[in-house]
Symmetry: C2
Subunit: 256 residues, 2 copies
């Protein structure tokens, strides 16, 4: 009789932004396999569990994924509650598919526990809705990151077609992102909000125009780029004096 | 000295899919203003609070919104913890903007607590990622519902440009949605998953082709339409024998 593997969304970072179900399962877990970026405060909720860091920050090779799959299956044959903890939500850029289908093929029980994704936590923090009655009724979540053996896909078109875009895992590719969007026709002065470490004490928010995105300083933590007219008012408030002047090539404003 | 209004995401429905922070604030709240669709199990978490139902299921008039705004402000001047509870997440189709900006203009403290949005809960339940390595790297959240005095906006274009689309508040408009997407060039056999009451005990999932969406029976509960090739495998598994035959005009499969 084997146990259940729970693919659990750890939410954006703050330990009280896990769901009640996720917190309960962490408390019951005997083993927790977690991404490298999961914070200590969240991991402490798994007080009884052996904790195994398995995620890799940049890319993931097929070999590594196969090894994670095998570890999960082995643990499910030994323990009642096995948690696979992923940042944000498992079904949105969480790459849960490989693990889910492997475990199901092995005849093991798997359940997915959804989480608060970074774009929603960032929006709560900014106090700016992703959608707004009358002006923004579609929002696209995209990542420009290309994995091993993947072809580039239509993230630029998806970003252009929606009123608001949330770009995940775009840190370090700011130059490419801004150039691709502007080349495709997105106005260079489209407002963006760059949010680092959303929901955590050290979080940082910078408002700028899209053309100035490449010049914004970043600290290397999890970064989300939000893009759309809903950020226009905040951009103007952050740098009111620069609004009528020609737009400089450096950051518009830094809010901490 | 006035209190704080917390705009809190109630999540998809199940009471243990609230965040830990949301559950704590409900327990502390003296008044809770909640949408009509919030379930009893969630409301019971607000054990000390006076509960006021304020949401309207279909459309919201400016007068009603002004009355809600005033109730929130009045409550914040009397109580320490006032919760405005909204289904899903407040910043995604939650229309938090009017309430946030009104309360801020009144000089009152407002905080937003993010929640698990329905598309993530539905994906967890289906065991199918919204995004999948190599095949789906963008997902659009849209609503075709047009509010009072709003012009129709580009939800169709946004749905077409993304790999996966999650259509909120589309129940009752299945015919319009399917016709608009197919007319704009979305293949009529694009797989969809229609998820009602995601995360709740009475939840129902139906897989079908986009052209068959208008014929699917629905029960009137909160409904989410998920659209994209990531649902192809589930559609084929749900109705394997119909795959090679000419596609009939009725529902492909019902899973409960």
């Amino acid at each position: 009789m084997s146990g259940t593997v729970y693919l659990v969304g750890a939410g954006p970072g703050a330990s009280d932004l896990l769901t009640v179900r996720a917190a309960r399962l962490l408390g019951e877990a005997e083993v927790v396999f977690h991404d490298a970026l999961i914070g200590d405060e969240v991991l402490r909720l798994a007080s009884r569990a052996r904790k195994v860091a398995v995620g890799k920050r940049c890319g993931r090779h097929a070999t590594a994924q196969r090894f994670i799959n095998k570890q999960l299956a082995d643990a499910a044959r030994l323990h009642r509650v096995v948690v696979r903890l992923k940042g944000g939500d498992p079904m949105l850029f969480g790459r849960a598919h490989e693990e889910l289908s492997f475990l199901e093929r092995q005849g093991l029980r798997v359940e997915v526990v959804p989480g608060v994704t970074a774009a929603l936590a960032a929006s709560a923090q900014l106090g700016i809705s992703l959608t707004r009655r009358g002006s923004a009724r579609s929002v696209t979540f995209i990542t420009p990151r290309v994995g091993h053996g993947e072809k580039e896909s239509g993230w630029v078109a998806a970003a252009l077609a929606a009123d608001t875009a949330a770009i995940y895992m775009g840190a370090g590719e700011a130059q490419t992102i801004a150039a691709a969007l502007i080349a495709a026709g997105k106005p260079a002065d489209t407002p963006i909000a760059l949010v680092e470490d959303a929901s955590l004490p050290g979080t940082r928010v910078q408002y700028a125009a899209l053309q100035d995105l490449p010049g914004l300083p970043t600290s290397g933590g999890p970064t989300l780029i939000l893009l759309g007219e809903v950020y226009r008012e905040a951009l103007l408030e952050a740098a009111p004096s620069s609004a009528p002047a020609p737009r400089p090539r450096q950051p518009q404003a830094v809010q901490e």
